[in-house]
Amino acid sequence: MAMTFHLDVVTAEQALFSGTVEEVIAPGIMGDLGIMPRHSQLISKLRAGELQYRTTEGAMASLFVSGGVLEIQPHVVTVLADTGMRAEDLDEAAAREAMKQAQDALQGKDPEDLDYEAIQSELEAAKAQIEMLHRIGKLRGH
């Protein structure tokens, strides 16, 4: 039997995934992290992007996370995402709309009263969603 570990993905609104996996690829803030069983303890911030995991059936599944914190203990990996979505719930039109709004906000307003960080992270989240959709789309042969 292949080595496995437990993965929990939770957001402030819901629990997205909880189960046994063989491998996780997480979007760390300093680059993607590939996590195998018995990984050393690690704690990292996450950027917006795709979180992939291989379940015990061997198939790769993926989730979208918009940032948060990842904690690794040798047999448990916990992802505390700010917000997240299942891949099948992603909506390209909505993501494009969000991206457009964020770009408009960056250009339109007075830079003094602009919450630059919040808009920037929204923009990045939208971009990451579109990127992820394209990757999945290619895999499915669209």
Partner: protein
């Protein structure tokens, strides 16, 4: 017919009150269901967060976050008190305030000053005399983290600057729709989880700097706990209101049936009297 009309109008007015309490009961019941869903949805995050922070408190980290360090001397403590905005929910708020006061009085006995931060109009009114430093009211039935961050930050800053040495959260725990339990929990310094403590020395790898990650994590930790408290408090409020309104409706029903009995007796007495007067009159002729 003595007082017949008055009794009738009283029955009608109690009937109107009963209609209102019945409606409030049903509204509270449906709001409670939604609040419970929200509470359940955010619970896994709070649980996992507590677990991770428990690991942190047990590990031997290179960077000691102020929230994980217990200060020896306590000169001033902070309280975050959750309450509802509206009344008519039985003893929910009163019980909570009693619990909070007990704990506050204990600190005062040891010559420790108290700073209070309140959520909800009821607590704001009740603790006005005790020194409120921050408050937020009217957050609605679905509180948002963004609305609460500013108020919480006042207390967190006070802790970091050393103005307060402990921070407590006072909120109602939702046991079930009939039972709500007021409780006082210590937010900071963080209490280490004793459950799965790891014996040997270890430290995390950090990406990026340890300070940056831990700071971000700790802020989210406090936010998630307070948010969980707020969501749970809404569920408690609705449950308590539902029960209070149900007993009010039941009482109104009982009063109506009692009054009806009195009214019918009075009517019967009047009829009997009239008949006996007529009979007596006929006999006299």
């Amino acid at each position: 017919m003595a007082g017949g009309k008055e009794i009738l109008s009283q029955i009608k007015s109690i009937g109107n009150t009963k209609k209102i309490t019945k409606a409030m009961e049903m509204v509270a019941a449906s709001k409670m269901r939604r609040a419970q869903d929200r509470m359940k949805a955010s619970r896994p995050y709070a649980d996992k967060m507590r677990q991770v922070v428990g690991h942190l408190a047990n590990g031997h980290l290179e960077y000691k976050h102020p929230y994980t360090q217990t200060r020896e001397t306590v000169k001033r403590v902070g309280y975050i008190i959750m309450s509802s905005d509206r009344g008519l929910c039985g003893g929910l708020n009163v019980n909570l305030f009693k619990k909070a006061l007990q704990s506050i009085v204990e600190w005062k006995k040891q010559d420790v000053e108290v700073d209070i931060c309140v959520f909800g109009a009821k607590a704001s009114a009740a603790f006005r005399r005790y020194g409120i430093v921050a408050q937020k009211t009217h957050m609605g039935d679905a509180p948002k983290v963004a609305d609460m961050v500013g108020t919480i930050k006042v207390m967190l800053d006070a802790y970091e600057e050393g103005r307060i040495d402990r921070l407590f959260l006072v909120e109602n725990e939702f046991v079930n729709s009939m039972t709500q339990k007021p409780q006082v929990t210590q937010l900071i310094p963080v209490v280490a989880s004793a459950v799965d403590s790891i014996k040997h020395h270890w430290d995390y790898l950090y990406e990026p700097e340890s300070k940056e990650v831990i700071d971000a994590l700790m802020q989210r930790y406090i936010e998630s706990l307070v948010y969980q408290g707020a969501v749970e408090n809404v569920a408690c409020e609705m449950a308590a209101r539902m029960v209070a309104m149900k007993s009010a409706s039941d009482n109104a029903g009982k009063m109506i049936s009692d009054l009806k009995l009195i009214y019918n007796k009075a009517r019967q007495a009047a009829i009997t009297q009239e008949i006996s007067e007529i009979v007596a009159g006929a006999a006299a002729v």
